[in-house]
């Protein structure tokens, strides 16, 4: 019975589309509200993804986007065969290890210290001071760093010179660089990083501390047995998410602190992508580096987010 089947299919299809149309009409005001955002995402987030094709093409400004020649993995082969690639990999890894080992614990320690302050005014003033650097631009932070550490006008070197010693070129010697940017990030973000931990500590039942005091526990034991276990889930989640960002290095920070003398320890994927792709007009190689970093970063973030969710906590989405 061919005719009834065809009629049924047509009828069903019409039903689906008319129901969809009715629903969309019902939400027409919502589409209107979302429209600017949708256009933004389509133009500024989706369109650039097409640019990643140049990682597989030789960009030619005269032939343009569609006319440029396909070259397969030529640019990736060139990238992986370049010694600079392994330098950038090492720098990215080292800067992140410094960040995780030296910087990650600091907001936790500071939060524990702040949590132990009973004098409310002292605590508030202290928090006001340590939160402030978070809101400064990296230009201001880098400029202040210059005036703190430079050999000519830096406050540290003025003190060193006044004490009769020779000045130290903190800003232009490679051996100081990773420590320098880690310390800089610490100064800028350690205060702000305490907020999440202080909030977690605020959730601890005060009676647990009372019971511990009755049992004769001193302040350190209270911290070790009550406070730290209470914030352990937060620490674990944030650490896993932090590991997921191993491909990232603060781009503006690196760009502002780089100079020719420290290039060997400062060059990372984004700064290289910028110099190759924008300064030197090597569009394809600039995009290839950026794409490599983007894909690796994507894998790491998705992996860490999966682990966090698998363990029963809320990830970044």
């Amino acid at each position: 019975m061919q005719k009834p089947d065809m009629a049924t299919n047509v009828y069903a299809a019409k039903g689906y589309w008319s129901r969809l149309g009715a629903q969309m009409y019902q939400y027409r005001a919502m589409y209107l509200l979302a429209l600017p955002g949708i256009l933004f995402f389509l133009l500024f987030k989706l369109t650039p993804l097409w640019g990643l094709m140049f990682a597989f093409k030789d960009y030619n400004p005269y032939l343009g986007f569609f006319g440029s020649e396909w070259v397969g993995f030529k640019h990736f082969n060139a990238l992986f065969g370049d010694r600079n690639f392994y330098m950038m990999l090492r720098n990215t890894f080292a800067i992140n290890v410094f960040g995780i080992v030296f910087m990650f614990p600091l907001p936790i320690l500071l939060a524990l210290m702040l949590n132990e302050v009973r004098h409310e005014a002292f605590k508030r003033i202290n928090q006001s001071i340590v939160y402030l650097p978070h809101f400064l631009s990296w230009v201001v932070v880098a400029s202040m760093t210059f005036f703190v550490l430079s050999t000519d006008v830096g406050i540290v070197n003025k003190l060193i010179a006044e004490a009769g010693y020779e000045t130290i070129s903190f800003l232009s010697q490679p051996k100081y660089f990773w420590g320098l940017i880690t310390a800089q990030s610490m100064w800028k973000e350690v205060g702000w990083g305490t907020i999440i931990f202080l909030a977690a500590m605020a959730g601890v039942d005060p009676q647990r501390y009372e019971a511990a005091v009755v049992d004769g526990a001193n302040r350190f034991r209270q911290i070790w047995h009550i406070t730290l276990p209470a914030i352990r889930p937060t620490i674990i989640i944030l650490l896993i998410l932090r590991l997921g960002q191993m491909a990232d290095v603060g781009f503006e920070q690196m760009l502002l602190m780089m100079n020719p003398l420290v290039m060997q320890v400062a060059e990372v994927f984004d700064t290289y992508s910028y110099t190759q792709g924008i300064l030197r007009g090597q569009i394809s190689s600039g995009i290839t580096v950026g794409m490599f970093k983007g894909v690796v970063g994507f894998i790491l973030v998705m992996g860490s987010n999966y682990i966090v969710k698998k363990s029963g906590h809320e990830g970044i989405y």
């Binding site: 979302a34 600017p36 987030k45 005060p206 001193n218």
Partner: protein, 291 residues
Amino acid sequence: MSFVSRKKLTVFDWINYSLLAIISLVCLIPFLYVFSVSFTDPSVYVPLRFYLFPEKWSLAAYSYILSTDSFINALKSTTFITVVGTALNLIVSFSMAYALTKKAMPGRSMMMGFIIFTLVFNAGLVPNYLLVKELGLLNSYWALIWPALTNAWSLIIIKSFLESLPSELEDAAKIDGCSDIGVFLRIVIPLSMPAIATFTLFFAVAHWNTYFNAFIYLSDSSKWTLQVLVKTLVIDSDNAGMAGSGGDERSVPQETIRMASIVLAMVPILVIYPFLQKHFAKGVMLGSVKG
């Protein structure tokens, strides 16, 4: 731990308070040094001396900077970008986030999926640069506004906030004959003032502090933002950036001028800091680990 009402500080407390004071000083000293040098009178300024407080106060460095075209231009640029950019951020972010709270809206999950995707992957800076160039936005302030119109992180947090509002109020308004747009403007927006205040500050600080996009998209020095100007003056140590109609530069030490430019680049942040501190802390909790 208010249950413990000891009047006497223990050894632990002394050590704890001392360490916290030291950490505060580490945060403060760079500020004090920069402020101090910037307010030092040229006649008493000695390059190799260490100052935390001016021997003799003066506004010479500030007078000099404020008399130059490059600074006034930079201030205008940054203010325009910050005010217009923040206003558009709020409009687009809140209206889109509200639409995304409608779970039954066709296409919503696709939109959410793509927004979340942009949280974990992006094309990188070269494709974005090519796009801005193709759109003819180079050397236009809009190059710093359109590409930063909204972002996934803000949308997700605002959407969470809007979903936490009581739905009874929306339902009541609809029964009273309010249109969907009317519900948004008359019920949702007034209830969202805390989140709007938080995100106003957040977007404004982000725009004010933008450096890299301003640096690559605005090569015309008459359009430079404050951050680009400060970077040129201090880190590049290039005084040509401060060429202007002002007084005799030789009478004001370069160091005090540079210090003053840093102060001026961060003064608005310091002025609104009390609000920042209050609202951002809420914002962090709004976003929980998403922040």
